[in-house]
């Protein structure tokens, strides 16, 4: 009976109901979209930091990641590689050797970081192959091929096919030096890598630095980056003495904080938007309750208990909230799906921003996360009930005689 009354009341003033419902639909669907874009930015940032360079977790000599001491290198035996690969969720492992030195072409030279990699393994850990703007990625057997960041390439004035000289201090104290040929130029949007990173074949760099068979780190990618902490912990129990596994959260503490902070920011955005929506709903229901003062008086004079009046008004708000929610989620899902597959490219108007060790790409793109739907939904219902509570109380507290006499 209450339900029927509530629904009938909702349909009585169709325009008001439509306005209230549309306010709730628009606010919840836009909220779902905004949260999705927010997640998209964070995932871009995390991907830029991990999938362009670090990997999700890194195995290296204990302490190496703090100061990158050239002599903290080790020999990765096949058994160790297998042990890491056997961990569930590990997608790929890339052995790397790193050195800093002088990259030079013709008269110009620049300090740079040289990373020796096996291209086939590296491709499973980082996605630089998707960031090539000229030339191509390193061949599987790169010999003297080199991949160079766009900023550095511009500074040196090199194009694919040009030669590079790399000079550094080798492990025996001699001046390690060799010629490389630019195979490709990458652009990640992260200026530190674009302006200073060069990738070459692992064996070529081992020869140059007189470190045969040695590496500085084994970078691994995982199916789910969020499990990196747990996987690193597990690995640390299995690794031989002197080696440690470090996950991206430890490598990039700012990034981890940014992601942890995102849950709080999500709640703040939702609260602000719903506060405004909530006031709108409150207004609507107060109006509808005031208009029906006489009606409530009659209902109560006929013997309806105050709690049933209260329940009826609350049911009205809940019904409208439910309908709005269904429509809002549907619209939000549609918008999110569109933005997840198509997105909006802003690279014409803004440049990439580096923040917390990651790069926010100049695009709007949605990453779907369950929480982005659940949080707005639950909160919308809560706001509805809260906004319905005051008018319902008012209706329930009416004195039937006075209410009937009111005009």
């Amino acid at each position: 009976m209450l339900w029927r009354l509530a629904l009938r009341n909702i349909w009585r003033n169709k325009r008001r109901t439509a306005l209230t419902v549309s306010a709730m639909v628009v606010s919840s669907s836009l909220l779902i979209l905004a949260l999705g874009i927010f997640s998209g930015m964070l995932s871009d940032m995390l991907a830029s930091a991990t999938e362009q360079y670090f990997g999700h977790l890194v195995v290296s000599v204990t302490g190496y990641q703090d100061d990158r001491d050239f002599f903290d290198n080790f020999s990765p035996d096949p058994e160790l590689l297998e042990r890491i690969a056997s961990n569930p969720g590990v997608r790929g492992i890339s052995p790397r050797l790193r050195t800093f030195g002088l990259v030079s072409h013709g008269q110009s030279s620049n300090p740079g970081e040289i990373l020796g990699v096996e291209p086939a393994s590296e491709r499973q850990v980082t996605r630089l192959q998707e960031k090539i703007v000229a030339g191509s990625y390193l061949a599987d057997n790169p010999e003297t091929g080199a991949l160079i960041g766009r900023g550095l390439a511009e500074r040196l004035g090199v194009n694919p096919g040009d030669e590079l000289v790399f000079v550094t201090q080798a492990a025996d104290g001699s001046i390690g030096n060799d010629l490389f040929t630019v195979r490709g130029i990458f652009s990640t949007g992260d200026s530190r890598h674009d302006n200073g990173l060069v990738l070459v074949g692992l064996s070529a760099l081992q020869r140059l630095t007189v470190l045969p068979g040695r590496v500085h780190e084994l970078a691994a990618s995982l199916e789910d980056p969020m499990t990196a902490g747990a996987t690193a912990e597990q690995l640390n129990r299995q690794l031989p003495e002197g080696l440690e596994a470090t996950d991206w959260g430890q490598l990039l503490p700012e990034m981890q904080e940014a992601i942890a902070a995102s849950d709080v920011s999500r709640l703040i955005i939702v609260s602000i938007l719903y506060f405004a929506t909530g006031l709108g709903i409150l207004n609507t229901f107060f109006m509808s309750v005031m208009e029906r003062t006489r009606e409530f008086g009659i209902l109560m004079a006929l013997g309806m208990r105050p709690w049933r009046v209260r329940a009826m008004v609350l049911l009205e708000t809940l019904a409208m909230g439910g309908v709005s929610l269904a429509l809002g989620i549907a619209l939000g899902l549609a918008l999110s799906l569109y933005m997840a597959t198509v997105g909006i490219d802003l690279s014409e108007t803004i440049t990439p921003i580096t923040y917390a060790g990651g790069t926010i790409a100049p695009r709007l793109r949605v990453v779907m996360e369950a929480a982005n739907f659940i949080v707005p939904s639950l909160l919308l219902l809560a706001v509805c009930l809260l906004a319905g509570f005051l008018p319902a109380n008012r209706a329930a507290g009416l004195d039937p005689v006075a209410a009937i006499r009111e005009d």
């Binding site: 008269q107 030279s109 300090p111 000079v167 104290g173 001699s174 001046i175 060799d178 010629l179």
Partner: protein, 253 residues
């Protein structure tokens, strides 16, 4: 005559004026000290010089020994080429004024050392590229105070001038009497901690000059590490022109 005076007078004519200035009482002290430092820093240069040296480097990570041939002209031009070991033969460094180039025979390229790399080790030793460029200008970049004078030595403190682009916070020279050769030079960082010392030894008279033939560089923060530069032969006033110190000469093997 004072015995010290007599001995100094027997020294080279080039040092004569210097010695007179130094030992004449009541002379402008700062000027004397500057001349003394200048004399010490240029002891291996002369107007021009040609030397063969051996450099032995010992670090935590490597030990190496290089044989080198070096030429210099005044204080601003300097060329050194590695003769041995075979793997590094032909690697050469040219310094003209404040710039340094390296020649790498393996890739047959000349690389200019950029400002950001001037603090880097030279040939894997404890000598930096900055040392090659700046050591010869200590007399211009620092002010001098005599800390101590004894019958055996002078101790001179050098503090950088306000605007001098130098890497040290302080340098203390110990200069031994009577030959006026350096004994120990101690380098302090900006926090006035002693971080490096150079010990001079094996004083001999060669090519008409009295010189320490061995120079040992010790980084004080890395005990056990050192670079020893041993002069095997050095001749002065050899016929060299500025044109010799060119990139073309640098690339000759």
């Amino acid at each position: 005559m004072h015995p010290l005076h007599r001995r100094t007078l027997q020294r080279l004519p080039a040092s004569l004026a210097l010695a007179l200035v130094l030992f004449a009482p009541g002379f402008a002290a700062a000027l004397e000290l500057r001349e003394l430092i200048r004399h010490v820093e240029q002891q291996y240069h002369g107007t021009s010089s040609h030397a063969r040296t051996e450099m032995r480097v010992r670090t935590e990570h490597w030990q190496r020994s290089l044989e080198m041939e070096a030429w210099s002209l005044e204080r601003d031009r300097f060329l050194v080429r590695i003769l041995a070991p075979a793997k590094e033969r032909g690697v050469a460094t040219l310094k003209v004024d404040k710039e340094v180039w390296n020649y790498l025979p393996r890739v047959d390229r000349v690389i200019k050392v950029p400002p950001s790399m001037m603090g880097g080790a030279w040939m894997g030793s404890h000598i930096t590229n900055d040392d090659l460029v700046k050591a010869s200008h200590v007399d211009e970049d620092y002010t001098f105070t005599l800390l101590e004078e004894s019958p055996e030595h002078y101790l001179i403190e050098c503090l950088p001038k306000v605007n001098a682009a130098v890497v040290w916070g302080k340098i203390v020279y110990e200069i031994l009497k009577p030959q006026l050769v350096p004994g120990t030079v101690t380098y302090f960082d900006e926090g006035m901690f002693a971080v490096r010392e150079i010990l001079f030894a094996d004083v001999r008279t060669t090519g008409g000059r009295t010189l320490p033939m061995r120079m040992t560089v010790r980084p004080l923060d890395k005990p056990g590490e050192e670079t020893v530069l041993q002069y095997q032969e050095i001749t002065f006033d050899v016929p060299l022109t500025a044109a010799f110190f060119s990139l073309r000469t640098l690339k000759e093997r």
